[in-house]
Every structure is written in C-alpha cells, then in structure tokens.
Symmetry: C2
Subunit: 274 residues, 2 copies
C-alpha cells in the first residue's frame, strides 16, 4: 500500500543530506540505505542500514541539522516517524532515561565532528535543558546515597504505637522508615521510597526494614512475653513480585525467634493502582 | 564527603581504558576528564567532559567493552552509577523510547568503529532484542496508520442506543469508535485509543469523534425535533489538559446547530488514576 504514510525510494535517490534541516525520522520497512558523512571534504561511508532500523531520529530529537547523508542503495519502503512520536514519549519518560538519550546524542554529535575533522575537539555539551539534567542527576545521587545509607545502617525505623482502646494496651506498632540525609537533612519517605520503587533498590530497603522490625519484635518478647505486639510495615508491589519474598520474611522471623503472625504486611496504594 | 559512593581521581589518573569490560557509569561532579580512542593505532581526543556530564553509560547499557579511554585532566569527583539505575528504568520505559536509546547506541558504536579505522563499514545492528524492537516498530506503524485513518476519514463512530425504560424511547446513544485496519482487520479500541493517548494524537482523534457526534445530533434533530437525544462520548485526560478543549466542543456544537447539553462527556478511568 502506498500512501503519504509510506515513502518509496528508487536506487540512488537521496532521502536527506548532511546539513539539511530535519523534518521527520524514518523506520526502514524494506530495502537498504547508505549513510555517509563528509570527512575532510570527502564522503565517508558510516554504515548501511536495512529493514528494521531507525534512521534520522537524532536530528528530530534536538532539531539540529542532519549529520549525515542517506541514499537508497536499492528500492526502499520507509515509514516516516513524526517528531512528536519520539518527543512526546520522551517527555513522559523518567528523567534518568531522558538524560541518557540526550547524553548519547551529544556524545555522538561531538565524536562525529571530531573524527570527521569538521571541528576541534569540542567540549561535550548536552542538549538537554540544564534544569532537566539536574533533576536526573539528583535522582542518581540520591539513589546512590540511599544505597550507602543501607550499608552504613543509617536508615531509622521508628515504631508508632497503635493503642487498643478497650484494654488500654499497646496492641502493636506501625513501622515508619526515616532517613536523615547527611547534607540535606530529613528526606521525606514519599521521596526516597518512591525513588527506591523505581528500581529494584526497594528490595534491599524492604529487607532492611524487615530486619529492624524482627529485631524489635524479639526485644518486645523479652519485655512482655504474655502480650506479644504486632508490627505493621509497608510492602510495595515490586517487593511482592520478588518470588522469594515470602520465604525471606519467614526466614527472618525464624532467625529472630518471632512468630510470623506478629508481622503485618500492608500493601501500598501504588500496587493497587498498577 | 569521600565514600564508596564518591570516586576521586588525581590529574593523569585513568578511569577506564578502551577495551575494558564495563562495570559502572559515572556522573562527573567536579573536574574534567579527557576521552580518547585509538584511531589507526594513535590516540585521538574525542572530547573533554566536565561537571554535569555522564560518562561510560553506553558500555553499561549493552555490556560491550569500553569504546574509549577516560583520563582525569584535573582533580575529579565522580558519582558512580550502578548499571541497574539505567537498565531497570529503561525496562519500564516506553518501547519506542527504548528503541531510540539502543538505536543511538548501535549507531554510535558503528560510526566510531568506522571513523576510527578499526573496522570495515559495518551494518548497523541494534543491540536491542529483535522482538522488543519489533514491538516499538509496530507501535510506530500503527500510530502512523491511525493518523492516516483520520485523514482518510476511515474511523467509524457507531452509536449504541440507551433506552429509557419508562417511556420506551431511545433517550440517547453512546458513541463507540471503531477502526477497521486495511491489513489487520478490526483493531481493538483499547489498543488504538491507548496508543493515541500516549501522545497528543488523542486530540485529533477526539476531535474526529466529536465531529461525527455533532453531525449525528444534527441529523437526529431533523428526524425527531421534539425529543433531541444525547450522545455520550469518552474523553481522556490528555484531551482535558488541552486548554482550548471546552471552546472547541462548544464551537463544534454551534457549527452543527446542536445544543451542547446534548453532548455528554465521559471521563475515562485513565484520568482518574493519574
């Protein structure tokens, strides 16, 4: 089917030239194109692209002129890709992923310019907005510092009592995790737990809290063996996805000589919405 | 603060060498590093990287050996970035964004090899798993075909009657959008509406449906002027974010001489969960 949404090229036809203003990117459906760039005034083959490859997607990301010329080697069928298809998906991506894309883009352009002899060794400069890159870098740093806090045993697990009004006794506790960051001061659990949930870092964080909870239950058993309290702790979807989760909870309870019934697992809302 | 999560380099110190197995990536906090690669046996400067730049992130994405050597030009402080921090975020990214990252990565490696004279012009080969790339390409194609269907007026808006049991009359209709894809046959609205909602393509799709609905209401008015029915149609969060949405609804109603009260906007669940 030929249409405005399918582009056909005959052998030798130029799709775009180095220096052109970018309009769209392309997905190669069939055929083969040669990508060339001028190096010290001479066309150098950068590579050939066949079916299934994306082409010209870099220029649409940052609106920079085409860095290479693409010429059909055979009859080709291409699907044009609107810049919005990339740009809008990137906008809603994690800032760290976005930083990765733009960092790669800057590196590619810079290296190409250097090796093509078209420019003096440039300073790599990301096209990502400065503030946006900072957001990504802050996440990376905070995540690293959270790993460090785990190793240094610097997360605090506080126990908030839950009163049984009828008996007047403390029936149990809710475990609340607190992080006092050495530079930033207290970091909200909403922030650092959400960050940990973005990757599997939530698993060691959860294990850390579980360890503290079991140790506390063991301690309470020596204080009031007749009325062992429970402790409730939050569990995220990502922890439950881990097949060994239940085994690990049971193993830790056993290691601390704690009845697993004393541990209440509370499923966080993020799981329910997933 | 110096720790395992901060790395310090002195001038002249090599962070990693071309050909090394990758372990981690780095975020440069302060200082400057020079990136060099061997080209026909000679070290060529690819660029210098300063504070705020990512370094070595490509090798951790696909586990390939380092393509360049990084050497400190001054005293440097780096934050190491665990491969999981990138890999796990990429896993949960949109397949189109993932395809973009791996396509760029393949292009960079291939171009670097070609221009360094380290290899014959290679065929660009994405490191992204084939099946995964296919998923991204399918989305790109389907999205393009949906744009085309809009232009060709190929989406069908069906009206499902809603009966008023007391009066026995048809009180109104629910508008249901159907797409009969020329090659695939019927595409589920769950699939194509979700796809359109990933980008602003949902806006013209919504306008298309609104036009059809207004035309139908105008037609009904000529058939049964005494009992104008309503038509309910789904509206997504992204359409509502568009500031001109209400104006556009009113303008279209007016253009078709339709009372806006006959148009019922139903907010889809995806908005409520956002």
């Amino acid at each position: 089917m030929s249409s405005a949404y399918r582009l056909k090229l005959v052998p030798g036809e130029v799709l775009f030239r180095e220096g052109d203003a970018p309009t769209t990117a392309f997905l190669i459906e069939s055929g083969c194109l040669r990508v060339t760039a001028l190096r010290e005034g001479e066309a150098v083959v950068l590579g050939d692209l066949g079916a299934g490859a994306l082409l010209g997607e870099m220029a649409v990301l940052d609106d920079a002129p085409r860095t290479a010329t693409a010429t059909a080697l055979s009859h080709c069928v291409l699907t044009p890709v609107d810049r919005k298809q990339f740009a809008e998906r990137l906008e809603s991506a994690d800032p760290v992923v976005r930083a990765l894309v733009f960092s790669q883009l800057a590196r590619y352009r810079s290296t190409l310019a250097t090796l093509s002899g078209n420019a003096a060794p440039p300073s790599f400069e990301s096209t990502l907005q400065r503030a946006e890159a900072e957001e990504a870098h802050d996440k990376i740093r905070l995540e690293n510092q959270l790993r460090e806090a785990l190793e240094l045993h610097a997360l605090e697990v506080l126990l908030q009592p839950i009163q049984d009004i009828a008996s007047g006794r403390t029936a149990g506790y809710e475990a609340l995790t607190r992080w006092h960051h050495p530079q930033r001061g207290p970091v909200s659990p909403a922030e650092f737990i959400a960050l940990a949930e973005e990757t599997s870092l939530i698993v060691p964080v959860g294990d850390y809290v579980l360890d503290e909870v079991c140790a506390a239950l063991q301690h309470f058993a020596t204080l009031a063996p007749a009325h062992p309290p429970f402790i409730a702790l939050n569990v995220s979807g990502r922890q439950l996805q881990d097949e060994s989760f239940v085994e690990r909870v049971l193993a830790r309870a056993q290691a601390h000589d704690v009845d697993p019934a004393q541990i209440k697992l509370e499923i966080t809302e993020s799981l329910v919405l997933d």
